[in-house]
């Protein structure tokens, strides 16, 4: 395929990383009284999967970002907001304690930001009911050619910003850092040397470690509205939505009612949506507030680098590179932000922001 695409290894298991035997035992113990998710290999990708005695967790130093981010555990692709019947409506039960093992630094950081977003203002009940009872265990990563957390500020976590982190940079000497009280409890039975309290967790250094001027980006994004760079991207973009589905910080949804043959029984579903789809901002009567694909691409990036920054002082992009990796035409934040930083107010097309 295109020269810019990294090859997908056949199977993550064969990437030469040692599976730590003691880890399996610990995970089995955790799974006894938690709903445990681990990362496993599927079709050449790393994916989050519910732990079962015969599953093969990918351990060692899993390199690739997961196909779907951890959001799928807390905000499932499709979930009933409630079921209904002749007796009225009923919300589904709240799931039990969840532990997720195997998140990289950027994934932990993005998960925190997503949780903050869902808790902000009017909390999203179904997400929070799952997320607030959960515990995340991080593991060391290796940089891949496609990731850039150093650019977005999602490359480090202070103690208190993680529960547990399994340092594997020296595979001979794993150590488990404790970052929260809940993490400490779980660490009690861990088969690794425990570092308590754990220190800062930092992603491996990048070749060119400078951060994007994140503070300046909201204004730059605003100024770039209507600029030709978006039209150029729109000639290539297929509007397929791959980029937003795989993004750990995309969470938008639509709702739909579903009934059984007896129409008194059914459910209101909420399902993942994507702002790259034509129908996203269309209202009844046919008017579409984001008719142009160029504008939809702008909106995607403005969410990440403008709205999220304005609300939380953090970038809405973790720098995981998943969107770029899974985009058939190779559109990704690095290219886009480079473009945005070059747009000057003068180079706007008519129709842009003043």
């Amino acid at each position: 395929m295109g020269a810019s695409k990294p090859e997908i290894p056949e199977s993550q298991d064969s990437s030469g990383q040692s599976v730590l035997p003691e880890l399996q035992g610990w995970l089995r113990e955790i799974a006894a009284d938690h709903r445990l998710f681990i990362t496993a290999a599927k079709g050449g990708n790393r994916i989050f999967e519910e732990f079962s005695p015969d599953c093969k967790p990918v351990t060692g130093l899993p390199q690739e970002r997961t196909l779907l981010p951890v959001k799928k555990v807390f905000l499932p692709p499709s979930e009933p907001l409630f079921e209904f019947s002749r007796g009225g409506i009923e919300a589904p039960p709240t799931p039990e304690n969840t532990v997720v093992f195997g998140l990289h630094v950027c994934e932990l950081s993005a998960d925190r930001l997503l949780a903050a977003n869902m808790a902000h203002d009017r909390p999203d009940f179904p997400y929070m009911a799952r997320r607030s009872q959960s515990l995340m265990i991080g593991v060391s990563c290796r940089r891949t050619s496609g990731c850039f957390c150093e650019k977005t500020g999602h490359d480090h976590l202070a103690p208190g910003e993680y529960d547990l982190f399994l340092h594997l940079d020296d595979p001979e000497h794993p150590r488990l850092a404790v970052g929260s009280d809940a993490g400490r409890e779980l660490a009690a039975n861990a088969p690794f040397p425990v570092e308590d309290p754990g220190g800062d967790v930092i992603a491996p250094a990048a070749a060119a470690p400078e951060r994007w001027p994140l503070e300046a980006l909201p204004e730059k994004m605003h100024d770039s509205f209507g600029a030709v760079m978006w039209d150029e991207l729109a000639t290539r973009c297929l509007g397929c939505g791959n980029c937003t589905i795989v993004c750990p910080l995309c969470y938008c949804f639509y709702t739909r009612d579903e009934t059984e043959l007896d129409p008194a029984n059914g459910r209101r579903l909420r399902l993942w949506d994507s702002c790259q789809l034509l129908a996203f901002a269309r209202v009844a009567g046919g008017h579409n507030f984001r008719e142009a694909r160029s504008e939809r691409i702008w909106y995607r990036f403005s969410h990440k680098f403008m709205r999220t920054w304005d609300t939380f002082g953090a970038a809405g992009c973790s720098g995981c590179g998943a969107c770029f990796h899974f985009c058939p035409v190779g559109i990704g934040p690095r290219q886009v932000i480079a473009g945005v930083l070059q747009v000057t107010t003068n180079s706007q097309d008519a129709g842009g922001n003043p």
Binding site: L81, F82, F84, G88, I89, A91, R112, A115, A116, M118, A119, H120, D121, R122, P123, D124, F125, P126, M128, A129, R131, S132, G160, E161, A182, H222, G226, Y251, C252, F253, Y254, T255, R256, D257, E258, P263, R268, D273, F280, A281, R282, V283, A284, G285, H287, F289, E295, Y299, S302, H303, M306, R307, D310, T311, F312, G313, A314, G352, N353, P354
Partner: protein, 288 residues
């Protein structure tokens, strides 16, 4: 600004499930105009009925189980307690099904959502209401509120346009409104014999006398109306901060989570639907 570092995930509380609607009963329903029905509603749960309050310009998420959900403005004034009213144009799936409801049937609602018209801040001022089509619904809530709180406001002016004479809404209330000011209407097209005006809504400005420095403007209607009306208000000397406009967008959640209603940095469902022109200055996609 909420800071990420201020909110450690473990201490999030999950107080209320916003997505669960509550049942409300149709006390009465009438056809206001072809394709437009008016409903008087009451919560089935007496405690909820008692506690329910809102402000003019806010909307409810109205749904029927098995059909779907849609945002609908409340069109009755907050001064009426115990019941609330909506006015629905048949536009598709849910609104079509709502039109099949009859007295005694129930539907499901959650809300109220969004920021309404800041009527309290307008005390002592004249008010001009400018509406197009079904956009009169949220304005009617504010008009009736101002009518009810007669002493709190100066003169009321209502400029209202619709496609045809029969699509003019709440016509039997204009006389009451006129006791507090003026009501002028206009239609796009009319059958022979129509005594009223035809043309664009801005021509109605010629029929009224305004004191722009002491008047707040409240606007709701189709986006095509906005630029003309705003241009005219600017000419007359209205300040951006005194013009309030209710925006329509695709909405699913009503609580700033589904992302459909976003305009640059604001959520129409949370910071809106009513926004002052001052708040959206410089955002070219807001008024389309």
């Amino acid at each position: 600004m909420a800071k990420l570092s201020d909110i450690p995930p473990r201490e999030y509380n999950t107080p209320h499930n916003e997505y669960l609607p509550e049942e409300a009963r149709v006390l009465s329903t009438t056809e206001l105009a072809p394709g437009i029905r008016h409903f008087v509603l009451e919560f089935v749960d007496p405690a909820r009925k008692e506690a329910f309050s809102f402000c003019s310009g806010q909307f409810m998420q109205v749904s029927l189980l098995g059909i779907g959900e849609a945002p609908i403005s409340i069109c009755s004034p907050p001064t009426i307690r115990g019941t609330f009213e909506i006015c629905v144009r048949e536009a598709g799936n849910l609104t079509g099904a709502l039109h099949r409801l009859r007295q005694g049937d129930t539907l499901w609602v959650r809300g109220p959502y969004g920021q309404g018209f800041p009527l309290a801040e307008m005390a002592g001022r004249d008010l001009i209401f400018i509406g197009g089509g079904i956009g009169l619904a949220p304005l009617r809530s504010a008009i009736d509120c101002a009518v009810c709180l007669n002493d709190e406001f100066g003169e009321l002016t209502v400029l209202y346009g619709a496609r045809t004479p029969e699509l003019l809404l709440f016509t039997d209330e204009y006389d009451t409104w006129r006791q507090h000011g003026r009501v002028e209407t206009i239609v796009d097209e009319a059958p022979p014999g129509w005594q009223g005006r035809t043309g664009v809504i801005t021509t109605l400005f010629d029929a009224v006398d305004l004191k722009p420095e002491n008047t707040s403007a409240l606007i709701c209607g189709p986006p095509v109306m906005f630029s003309f009306v705003l241009g005219r208000l600017k000419e007359l000397g209205f300040a951006d901060a005194d013009i309030f406009i209710s925006l329509e967008r695709h909405m699913r959640c009503g609580v700033g989570k589904c992302e459909h209603c976003v305009v640059e940095s604001f959520y129409t469902c949370r910071q809106g639907p009513v926004l002052s022109i001052g708040q959206i200055r410089g955002i070219s996609s807001a008024l389309r």
